[in-house]
Amino acid sequence: MENFFLLNSLILGCLALLCLYRGIFGPTVLDRIISVSVIGTKTTVILILIGLIYQRVDMFVDIALAYALLNFIATMAASKFFRKRGSIAPGAKYYRERGN
């Protein structure tokens, strides 16, 4: 069963690396935020699998819980920031204040 968990966490790690492509080359900044959120969700599962491999689930489950909460708060804060800002272009507020 440990081998199965190891293989599964390796597959999930490869999928997280594939998601990182969208995080680096994403056309807009919102694509990068989705990519970070998806990688965070995968990381919570990988943390539990690592805990089962090392026989210390009681410790790793708390870390995974904190990671899930933090991931949700980070995504909500970023989306709230961009809603208030009203644009995803860099320097948009500066150009609006200058008037062009």
Binding site: I33, T44, V45
Partner: protein
């Protein structure tokens, strides 16, 4: 019981893989949001249910029951929080005037 755990975790990994495929291959922001919002939520839920079953498999004591309850709490939290985050991000994209992908873009 082992087969149930393995089937649940493999189903979760399959949904994670489809979410990643959608994130990489879809053409614009909203369609990527559509792929990851659903695939990731169900993948995480199935994986956590499988892992919570596995912790109860060998011995049932106070420690394993507590770990299993915490795992189910993470699963239910992700099931509520991930669609909320998806909705907020989509609304941010609409307010920021991100252009949706239309039929005209397909023929370019």
């Amino acid at each position: 019981m082992h087969t149930v755990v393995i089937i649940l975790i493999l189903a979760g990994t399959f949904f994670f893989a489809t979410a990643t495929l959608g994130l990489l291959r879809f053409p614009d922001f909203y369609t990527r949001m559509h792929a990851t919002g659903k695939g990731d939520t169900l993948g995480a839920f199935l994986s956590f249910v499988g892992l919570a079953l596995y912790t109860l498999l060998y011995e049932i004591s106070l420690d394993t029951i507590l770990v299993s309850i915490k795992l189910m709490f993470i699963a239910i939290f992700i099931f509520v929080a991930n669609p909320t985050a998806t909705h907020a991000l989509t609304k941010a994209g609409l307010d920021c005037d991100v252009e949706p992908w239309t039929k005209g873009d397909a023929s370019k």
